[in-house]
Subunit: 249 residues, 3 copies
């Protein structure tokens, strides 16, 4: 199985699928091609939330603002999973969630046909090759070299106090839910929280409040999420990725 | 075969796919993850138009504004098809189009990991389980209980007269075509219709009128549709879902 | 293998998948359902860039502003590939890129259930039939007639001079990169180019310039592309499909 994730939108991902299918009979599963565009950190967050739910697979991940520069191409092995991705940290959080120990390899890049579409010309062929060889034999493939020099993507740490927390908006999902880096456990025994100057109920579900009302909840990612029941939290709270968020109670 | 439909956008559906593939080798087919967001009735309309074209399958349907509340999880059997969906009526019209008699079952929900992502934690595992067991043995599975107490989703009835019809906009498609609840047969022998104050030709095809001109047609769903040849009907007629529409001739 | 491409958005493509799967066990691969809407020429460009990367397949292509009129339905054979598409030229450039010689066939259209959804009622069943029969036996199928009377889609020719080029914007991709019809080779030894009144560096990659800066590059399609490093070229250059572009150096 090869999963595909990118920030390419449409129709570039189809060229990657075509190239893979020229080489391999692997099952292909689209993860998303609408990852936050050119935003390595936000993409890394989503991949960490989504990819660990898959069975062992080769995960092709292309969010690559440095395409065509001398940044490396990597294969990252985490248990029986292998991530094929640019060396910008985008796949690291997902890999680390899957396995405490990971092995990182540099992949040879030889005269790709384009300087701006390594998804098609570099990463897709490598994903097919690694899939067909198997994760076990990855280290023995021509052009694969172990490395411990690679980019790391870190999510910002929130500041947690006894009666407050300060953090940042990591992403906004397609419902408009505002996902922060503040761990949900801080709200375990809190019923009402101040978000900036607003007093907002803490709810277990969106429907804990009336339709159109604001609610602070803990998302499936276990972080604090600012939402509106059947509405958009980003608009109601006027927040977007990168914005600071202060909670107090 | 398991089909997947939701209003999740991206990338949440991938977590559902991963969970299913942990359990099952089923073929997965994406139906749509851009169903009208949080809009059970509009989603039910689209699913009724699309899912009956599939061969027998398990249809995972998650449009679920009540996620985390005590609404039930259901399996609905219609012939050899099984719908796995929240108990809010979203899958009923599709099921009833497939079979006059349907069997409805309540699915046990045991401590899902999240209160806000039952698509991943409740419905996806059930879809995999039911797929692998087969529609025939559904009633014998642990945690499956027949029920006849479930939510129904009804589309509003239009008012039909000899020379007029009054109805409602059900959905607007991605071309901007305005799809109403008025049955197309009322226009069988009508060449020109008044939409509010506008006189608009009735056409068999979009191209029956000039480029940019308004046309009233009968869509593939057999309802009256307000369109513009190579343009957007919703903008030209200033209509959106839920709006009233009056036709006369 | 059957690939699917359309300008349908969501959820209409699922009805095509369902119909195909009623008839065939073919592997289905989504190419794009967000091709430029009702824009045959722009869709033809994307399909030419993407579909030739696939192994031999039946390519179902539905961008069809003339749906329901008397335009023909075609099967176009290019080597071991077959395109099933309306007769408006949308699949021709992709077919011609795959093979110098192509065979074109008219497909019988018999009382489709709808006048506005031939993707579901005409093209999808034909794609399944042709897939299961095989490209080799296409000519022998009932309802398949050779033809040499079919629509051609031509991209506009740029005007190339020793120190300037004038062309047109063909498409804007989802990153906002502005893709022209001007061949990239004209910039082989040019470091700085004038786009209208702006002086812009020519870069091998987007990252050849600072974040937020304009760059002229050669895309994976080998045409000149106007871009912004980690930004949107269409906004920075105020250009959209169909606009004229003049380069000089």
């Amino acid at each position: 199985m090869i999963t595909l994730a990118s920030d390419f939108g449409s129709p570039y991902p189809a060229a990657m699928k075509g190239v893979i299918l020229q080489h391999s009979d692997a099952r292909l599963v689209d993860v998303s091609h609408d990852l936050p565009r050119q935003d390595v950190r936000a993409a890394a967050f989503w991949l960490r939330e989504v990819l660990p739910h898959f069975p062992p697979a080769v995960h092709l991940v292309v969010v690559d603002p440095g395409v065509g520069t001398d940044r490396n191409a990597l294969a990252i092995r985490a248990g029986e999973h292998v991530f094929v991705a640019p060396d910008n940290g985008v796949a690291l959080p997902a890999a680390r969630r899957l396995a405490a120990d990971i092995d990182v390899f540099e992949l040879a890049v030889e005269n790709p046909a384009s300087a701006t579409f390594h998804g098609r010309d570099v990463f897709a062929p490598w994903a097919a090759t690694i899939h067909d060889a198997g994760a076990d034999t990855l280290a023995a493939l021509d052009g694969v070299t172990p490395t411990d020099d690679y980019a790391i993507e870190r999510f910002p740490d929130p500041v947690l106090e006894a009666d407050s927390a300060e953090g940042e908006v990591l992403v906004v999902d397609d419902f408009g839910n505002v996902i922060t880096n503040i761990p949900g456990r801080i709200l375990d025994s809190v019923d009402m929280v101040r978000v900036g100057d607003l007093r907002v109920p803490v709810g277990h579900t969106f429907a804990a409040v009336g339709i159109g009302a604001k609610v602070v909840t803990v998302g499936s990612h276990e972080n604090v999420e600012l939402a509106v029941n059947r509405g958009r939290g980003d608009e109601a709270f006027s927040l977007e990725p990168g914005d600071r968020v202060r909670l107090s109670w």
